[in-house]
């Protein structure tokens, strides 16, 4: 595939900074672009935004980047993880939802002077549809990825250009593949559910959120080896207070209903989710059914793992689910998200413990 060190020609001035000096990004080689199926079952259009913002509970605005759905005027999507976000676009990015076996095309348009890709994490397509720049190319202009999901489950998509920065900046969204019979079952012939929620649990280091899209690509220490998060979020909602009432995170369910939790460890740091005394049946991970589902009250996860869990409360009451975000070296808990279930109403919150150089404040 075409591969080259891109050394110039990039314009500046947009959110995300300029890019005159990006290195190790790889323009599309038209001669190597594969033909597309002329009759796809589903087409997703995605643009990008680099000027989003998220107002945290402490009143601070943090810059967010993400993908837009041009057909929806900037990208508020349904399906459970249509995020919030201020100007620019939704955060998390608009979800994709398809059915197992459909031929899908994702058309990414990058109309700014920069590069991005879409990697459909968990989808294993032809390599030029995998969205990994150094193996195929990064996108400036328009490129269409093609794939046909063989397995139902919980995926997500994210940018794979300067990934360490772009994914942390918020360039991700949920990707749900339903079984052939459609929503309502976790996978083909799998367990049923009545309602679902996507919890993409992530951490934000706001000191990274002033960098340009190509930060560090040509060398120089921009601090991308050190992640010291100061915000903890769930599906784009600040866990400090907002998640207590935000309907994008909170779930209302009745006794007897079966809730499918699509849990995505969307950050880079290890997490532990505890279901507040409720017992979850874990039925799948990384969109593969487990040979034997298991019952648990907690799950440890590392970056990008997904777990599909079914909860069916048998008793009304108040439950508190907690998600710890832990330091990747010391294991110290950096922040804890708590989630309360009041009778038939669930609420979520996050409490932050700042950690500076491994020491709690």
């Amino acid at each position: 595939m075409n591969s080259s060190k891109h050394g110039g020609g990039m314009g500046g001035g947009m959110g995300g900074g300029g890019g005159m000096n990006a290195c190790y990004v790889y323009p599309i080689d038209p001669a190597q672009v594969p033909a597309l199926d002329p009759n796809p079952d589903m087409i997703f259009e995605r643009g990008i935004y680099m000027n989003g913002s998220m107002t945290m509970d402490d009143g601070r605005n943090v810059t967010i980047w993400g993908f837009t759905d041009p057909a929806e005027g900037g990208g508020m999507g349904g399906g459970g993880m249509g995020g919030g976000g201020g100007m620019g676009g939704a955060f998390p990015s608009p979800p994709m939802r398809v059915r197992q076996g459909q031929v899908v095309q994702t058309r990414l348009t990058v109309d700014m002077m920069m590069y991005h890709t879409i990697h459909h994490h968990g989808i294993e397509p032809e390599f030029r549809s995998d969205g990994v720049g150094h193996i195929s190319w990064d996108v400036n202009g328009t490129y269409t990825y093609q794939w046909r999901p063989a397995h139902a489950g919980t995926y997500f998509y994210h940018c794979h250009t300067n990934t360490v920065l772009h994914a942390e900046m918020g360039m991700y969204g949920a990707l749900i593949v339903d079984p052939p019979e459609g929503p309502g079952r976790a996978f083909e012939n799998g367990p049923s559910y009545d309602l679902e929620v996507i919890w993409a649990v992530d951490e934000i280091d706001s000191s990274w959120h002033t960098l340009s899209w190509d930060a560090g690509t040509c060398g120089g220490d921009v601090g991308l080896n050190i992640l010291n998060p100061d915000y903890f979020i769930i599906s784009g909602v600040d866990g400090n207070q907002s998640a207590l009432t935000d309907p994008r995170v909170a779930v209302t369910m009745n006794m007897g209903q079966r809730l499918l939790i699509r849990y995505i460890c969307a950050g880079y740091l290890p997490q532990q989710i505890r279901f507040g005394g409720l017992t979850a049946e874990v039925v799948a991970s990384d969109e593969r059914p487990l040979p034997q589902s298991f019952l648990t009250t907690q799950i440890n996860a590392v970056s990008a793992e997904r777990y599909d869990c079914i909860i069916q409360p048998t008793q009304a009451g108040i439950y508190t689910v907690e998600i710890d975000i832990r330091h990747w070296i010391t294991g110290q808990v950096l922040g804890t998200c708590t989630y309360a279930h009041y009778s038939h109403v669930k609420r979520l919150s996050c409490n932050l413990k700042r950690t500076i150089n491994g020491q709690s404040e």
Partner: protein, 333 residues
């Protein structure tokens, strides 16, 4: 064992030849145990990192005038009598240790020791400097040992899924401040803050970068690190983490069959595209099945796919340089 000289480095007049380690020995099963003899030389030197910074390392090297990180990994069989002779060419005390199997005890500077053991349990093991833990291990005094089940050449343990080839992926994280402290015989007093991330002692060199395609430098093209195969070439990946950070190992192209974690056989095999690898000597065995990428349309059986750690800080070097960290590529040929 194929070795490659890829860098001449010097420190205070000591010229060393750096050899990439972490490789795999071709190996055939036997119906009987035998004697295996190995020799390591504890040496030191400097390795230039992707951003041009030279960092001090120590290694279990294959000769007294080389520096090799990690040390040559090796494969034995259950019941073999393994004899390891370690010559400590430095002035500092070190050791050779495999948890639950062997511990040489202190090997004073300038001295030599021979240890002998008979591994009884199949699996993947880290050998490392257990003296003054974890510092010797972190400055790259480590390597990997595989113990094959008696008489089997295609299973991780009796009854495991089968494989047709195997590799070691030994990960480490490098804090140059700690390396400097250790060189100066000081206990590091700062939080461990890695700036470089390696797989089998190497890091990525993407297309266009100096050293790209050079198997002595580029983890994407080191034949002992990059994975090559055709559909059906089920590949066992023995993943060991000498460093302190928890990793999330992510393969593109295929989900992995997750067989073991920290020496324990998992009760059922999960298919995962992310497998956790604990810090501080974490171990996981997985099989990359080399099945046709399941979601390709139209179907295909060839292509190149990435393996990288999803704790993405590990994909950097010196605080930037994305793709110059712990990653490699998987080639469907």
């Amino acid at each position: 064992m194929k070795r490659r000289d890829f860098l001449k480095a010097s420190s205070a007049g000591f010229a060393s030849t750096l050899l990439a380690g972490g490789g795999f020995l071709s190996w055939k099963s036997r119906a009987y145990a035998t004697n295996v003899a190995l020799t390591y030389y504890i040496t030191h030197g400097w390795i230039t990192q992707p951003d041009g910074v030279s960092v001090y390392f120590r290694g279990y090297s294959s000769s007294s005038n080389s520096l090799q990180v990690p040390g040559n990994s090796f494969v034995v069989q259950q019941g073999d009598t393994v004899t390891v002779t370690i010559h400590n060419r430095l002035t500092t005390t070190h050791s050779f240790k495999i948890d639950e199997i062997v511990d040489s005890g202190p090997i004073a500077g300038g001295s030599s020791t021979t240890v002998q053991f008979q591994p009884s349990t199949a699996g993947s093991y880290l050998f490392y400097d257990g003296h003054n833990e974890p510092y010797g291990r972190l400055v790259d005094l480590h390597g990997a040992m595989a113990v094959m089940p008696l008489g089997l050449d295609n299973r991780v343990y009796v009854g495991s899924p089968t494989f047709v080839q195997q590799k070691f992926w030994v990960f480490n994280q490098i804090d140059p401040v700690w390396h400097s402290n250790i060189r100066n015989r000081a206990i590091p007093s700062t939080p461990f803050t890695p700036r470089y991330f390696t797989i089998n002692g190497l890091s990525g060199r993407p297309p266009g970068a100096p050293g790209h395609v050079d198997p002595a430098i580029d983890a994407m093209h080191d034949h002992e690190t990059a994975v090559h195969g055709h559909v059906g070439d089920r590949t066992l990946l023995r993943m060991l983490n000498a460093g302190l950070a928890t990793h999330a190992v992510h393969t593109h192209g295929n989900h992995m069959e997750w067989l073991t974690s920290n020496g324990q056989i998992r009760p059922v095999v999960w298919l995962k595209d992310i497998v956790p690898l604990d810090g501080n000597k974490g171990v996981a065995d997985v099989i990359f099945p080399f099945e046709a990428p399941p979601d390709a349309w139209p179907p295909t059986s060839t292509g190149i796919y990435a393996m990288h750690l999803h704790d993405e800080m590990t994909q950097t070097a010196g605080g930037g340089l994305y793709m110059f960290g712990a990653l490699t590529d998987i080639y469907f040929e």
